[in-house]
Symmetry: C2
Subunit: 505 residues, 2 copies
C-alpha cells in the first residue's frame, strides 16, 4: 500500500482534456477510519428510526438535491460534458428515486414481515416465530463514472441502502470529484452525522472495502475493478456481500419479419440508443443480430446513415477515451469484422467517432462479444434460425436482451433463450433508459452482476437487509411491524397467509 496522504484529486474537462483543479485531496487512512467509525456509530439510531421518519429523511434528500439543481448541473457538466439537458434529467431521476424509495419504506412490504403463531405441526409443537428484514449495517458505495448523480453519491445504491436503514460511505469516482463533494454537502445537511460519508482516492476505496465496519459493498464499474474489490472481500475474515454491476453486452435481435416491417425505423432508432451519452451506458446495445438479405440490409443501411449524422458528446475521461480508441481499433482488425460506418469525430478533448462494424454469424470473433464502453456497435448477420441460435448460445450474460419481432409473430424458443442470458428482456424497443419502479430489474447473471439482486427499482433494498426471527418474544420486545396490537400498516404473512396492509385512517 503506497502512501496517499494529501495527494490532490483533480477532475478533467472532457471537452478540452484539461485538468480541473478541485482543491480536493485523497482521503488519508485515518480519515477513512473516522468516516466508517462515524457510520458504525450512527447505525443503531438509523435502524431504529420508524418507517415514517425514514421515509421523511429520503424525501428530504430529494428536496435538498432539487434545491441545489443549478449549481449541481453546472459543476457536473464541467466535469462530465454530458450536457445540461441530460444532467437535469438525471437530477430529476435521482430525486424521483429518493421519493420512490420513501414510498417503498411507507409501504413496508419490503420488510417481508411474517408471523407464525405457536401451534401443533406434524413435526411437533411450533413456537411463535416472527420474521422480518433488518438493516445490515454500514454500506460502502462506489460511484460510477457515467452517472455522476444517479449511480454516484446520491444514486440508487445510496438511496436503497438508506431506505433499508443503513449508513453509507461513498467512494467518489475520480471522474467527477467536485460534483461528488458538492452533492455530499447538499445531502448531509439533511442527515444525521455519520449517515453519509465520502472518501476520495483509490487506496481509500480499497481500505473501505476491507474495513470491519462495512457490511456490504455496492459497485458499478468495470469487470476488472469489480474483481479487484471482490479479491479484497475474499481476503476479509468475514466476507461481506458484494453487489457489482460489471459488464453488459446487451444483445438485440431483429427477426426477419421485424426487419421487413420496419427495418429502417429499427436501424435509425438503434443508433440513438448506441450514441446517446456517447454510448457510455451499461444498457447500450453492443451486439445486434440482423438477418441477411434485403430486409436486414435496410436495418444496417439506416443505422449507417444515422450513425454518420449522429452528434456525440465527448467521452468522460482519459482512461475511457484511451480504452475506446485502443479497443475499437482491435475490434476493427479482428478476423471477419468489417467496418460499416464511422461517424463524425468530435474535435477536441475526449471526443471520438461512433462506430458500426459487421460480422457474419458463422464466424463471429471473440472481440465481437466484448463490451465497448462508448458509441460502438457490432452487427452480426444471420442467414437462418440455427445460426441465430448458435450466436445466442455464445452470448455472455447481460443486464438486458432485446427482441424486435413482426406484428403477431411468436418466437417462444427465442424468448426463452434470450431470457437465460439476461435480467431484462425488452420487446420491440431499446434497452437504454431504466425506469425506477416496482417491477424493474437491473441485474443479470455474471458478468452483468454477481448477484441475484437488482441495483434499480424497489427490490434494490433487499441487498442491504438481513432476516431476523424472534422466537416466543414478548410483545414489547418485538419491532412495531411484528406486533399484534396496534396492527401495523404493512403487508404481512400471518400463518402462511399473505395479508395486505391495513389501510391508514
Amino acid at each position: 500500500m503506497t502512501t496517499t496522504e494529501n495527494r490532490p484529486v483533480a477532475g478533467t474537462d472532457p471537452r478540452t482534456g484539461q485538468e480541473l483543479p478541485t482543491g480536493i485531496v485523497e482521503s488519508t487512512p485515518d480519515e477513512v477510519r473516522a468516516t466508517t467509525a462515524a457510520a458504525l456509530a450512527v447505525a443503531p439510531a438509523l435502524a431504529a428510526l420508524d418507517r415514517t421518519r425514514r421515509a421523511g429523511l429520503l424525501r428530504s434528500q430529494a428536496d435538498a438535491l432539487e434545491s441545489a439543481r443549478g449549481r449541481i448541473v453546472e459543476v457536473a457538466d464541467a466535469e462530465t460534458a454530458l450536457g445540461a439537458a441530460r444532467l437535469n434529467g438525471e437530477l430529476t431521476r435521482t430525486a424521483f428515486q429518493f421519493r420512490f424509495f420513501a414510498d417503498v419504506v411507507d409501504d413496508g412490504g419490503f420488510l417481508e414481515a411474517a408471523i407464525d403463531h405457536a401451534g401443533p405441526t406434524p413435526m411437533g409443537p411450533r413456537p411463535d416465530l416472527r420474521r422480518m428484514l433488518v438493516p445490515i449495517g454500514p454500506v460502502a458505495v462506489f460511484g460510477a463514472s457515467n452517472f455522476p448523480l444517479a449511480f454516484s453519491v446520491p444514486g440508487g445504491d445510496t438511496a436503497s441502502a438508506l431506505a433499508a436503514g443503513n449508513p453509507v460511505v461513498v467512494k467518489a469516482h475520480n471522474s467527477h470529484p467536485a460534483t461528488a463533494q458538492l452533492v455530499h454537502e447538499v445531502l448531509t445537511a439533511a442527515l444525521p452525522a455519520g449517515a453519509l460519508g465520502l472518501v476520495f482516492g483509490r487506496e481509500a476505496g480499497r481500505q473501505l472495502v476491507a474495513d470491519p465496519a462495512i457490511r456490504a459493498v455496492g459497485f458499478t464499474g468495470s469487470l476488472s475493478g469489480g474483481r479487484a474489490l471482490l479479491d479484497i472481500i475474499d481476503a476479509r475474515p468475514d466476507p461481506v456481500p458484494f453487489y457489482g454491476e460489471l459488464s453488459s453486452l446487451n444483445a438485440l435481435v431483429v427477426t426477419e419479419a421485424a426487419a421487413r416491417e420496419r427495418g429502417a425505423e429499427i436501424g435509425a432508432a438503434l443508433v440513438g440508443s448506441v450514441t446517446g451519452s456517447a454510448g457510455q451506458l451499461c444498457t447500450k446495445p453492443g451486439l445486434v443480430l440482423v438477418p441477411t438479405g434485403p430486409a436486414g440490409d435496410a436495418v444496417v443501411d439506416a443505422a449507417a446513415t444515422a450513425l454518420r449524422a449522429a452528434e456525440v458528446v465527448p467521452l468522460l475521461n482519459e482512461r475511457i477515451h484511451h480504452s475506446y480508441l485502443a479497443d475499437t481499433e482491435q475490434l476493427r482488425s479482428a478476423p471477419g469484422v468489417q467496418t460499416i460506418a464511422t461517424g463524425r469525430p468530435t474535435a477536441a478533448g475526449f471526443g471520438v467517432a461512433p462506430l458500426l462494424v459487421g460480422a457474419a454469424a458463422d464466424a463471429v470473433p471473440a472481440e465481437a462479444f466484448a463490451e465497448y464502453f462508448g458509441p460502438a456497435v457490432v452487427v452480426v448477420r444471420y442467414a437462418e434460425p440455427a445460426e441465430l441460435g448458435s450466436v445466442i448460445a455464445q452470448l455472455p450474460a447481460s443486464l438486458t436482451a432485446t427482441l424486435h419481432v413482426g406484428a403477431g409473430e411468436r418466437v417462444p424458443d427465442l424468448v426463452a433463450a434470450l431470457g437465460r442470458t439476461a435480467g431484462r428482456i425488452v420487446f420491440d424497443g431499446f434497452p437504454t433508459g431504466v425506469a425506477v419502479s416496482w417491477a424493474q430489474h437491473h441485474g443479470g447473471p455474471w458478468p452483468a452482476t454477481n448477484s441475484l439482486h437488482t441495483s434499480v427499482g424497489a427490490t434494490a433494498v433487499r441487498r442491504f437487509l438481513r432476516p431476523l426471527t424472534w422466537q416466543d418474544a414478548p410483545e414489547h420486545a418485538l419491532p412495531p411491524e411484528l406486533r399484534d396490537t396496534p396492527e401495523p400498516t404493512l403487508p404481512r404473512r400471518v400463518d402462511g397467509r399473505l395479508e395486505p396492509a391495513v389501510e391508514r385512517s
Copy 2:
C-alpha cells in the same frame, strides 16, 4: 488433483468405530460431468413445469421417503448411531419439509410477481414492466454429517432448490454414503431423469463446484470446508452464489431475574439442549452467560447434575471424535477455564463424555468463543451488566442467540445487542429444534452463514431464484403468473399495490 477413480467409499459404525463396507466408489471426473450435464439438460423442462405440477413433484418426494421409512431409518442408524427415534423424527421432518415447499409453490408469493403498467412518471413515460423470479439453474448441494436426511440428499437445500424449479446434484457426505445412495434411489424413482444427481468423494465435490453447469452451491459444514469451496468459486470465471452454513456459537444469556425465578430449571433444560444428538447440532448453545452469586450458582449446579446423568449417543465419525477430544482438551487447559463437570463417557466406538466448563466474564479466553461440535458448553459468569455487555460485544455472529429473562422483565438494549449477533433470537427457550415454517430464519452474519438468506423455512427458495423483467412483452410471451388474463392465483404487486391471490374456485 489426485486421481480418485473407483476408490471405495465406506461408512463407519459410530458405536464400534468399525468400517461398514458399502460397495460404493468415489465418482470419477467423467461421472461428475455426466451428472451435471444431465442436470443442465433437464433444467428447462423443470423450469417450465407449471406450479401445480412442481408442487405435485415435491409431494411425491415426501411420499417416496415415507414409503421407504423402515429401510432408510435402519441404514441411517447403522451409519450415524443417532437412534431410531431421532431418525424417524428426522424423516418425518424431511417429508414435512417437501410438503411445506409444495405449499409455498402453490401459494406463489415466493415469485415476487410485480406488474407496472405503462404510463407517465416524473422521469417521463414508463414502459410496461413485469418482474418475477425464475430458476437459477443446476444447484450443487453438500450433505451434512449430522443430519443424514434433513440436511443431506432429501434435505432443505434439495427441497428448496427443486421447489424453485432447479435440478440438484448432491455431493454425499462420507459419513453416511449408504444412506445417501438409498435415499437417492427412493427419490429419483419419482423424478425426471437428471433432476436429482448424486456424486461421492471429496474430489468429485470440488469438481462439482467448479463445473460451469452449476449455478449455485448450498453447503452445511465446517468453516474450513466452506472456505475451501468458496476459494474454488472465487477462481471460477463466473463466481456463483455460495450459501454456506458454517459455524455457530449460539450464546445464551440468563439474567439475574431469570436465574432467581427458575435457575435450576434453566440449568437442567440447558443440558438437554447441549447433549441431544451428542451436541452435534448447528444450534447447540455453546456459551452461556450466567450471573455470579447464588441465583447463578443454582443454574450451574443444576446443569452440572444433569450433565453427569446425561445419556449421550456416540459422535458421528472419526474426524468429529478426534476433533472433539483434541479441541475440548485445549479448551480445558485454556487460561481462566475451570472444568465444572464431565459426564459419563460412552464406552465404545466414537463415544465421548459431555463437558461443562466455566470462565469469568472479565477474562474469557479466545477458546471459549469457538464452536465445539459435540456435547460441550462453556458457562461464563458475569457480575454486572457492563461485564455482560462486554462479552456480548466479543461474540462471533451465530445462527441464534437466546435470552432468559424474569417475568415481565424488559431488557431492550440486551435484545438489540443480541439481535446484532444472530439470525434468530429465542426468548425463554432453547435454540435447538428449528421449525420449518414461513417465518423461520436459519442464517446469520458470517461465520454463521455467508449470506442474507435462510437455509430453513419458506424463504430458503429465494437462494435459487433470480429476477427477470419483461418489458413491453406481448401477453403470449409472458409466463402465466404475469399475464392479465386469466388472472393467475398468486399474490402480485400491481402498480405498486400488493394484491393477495385470487381465491381458487
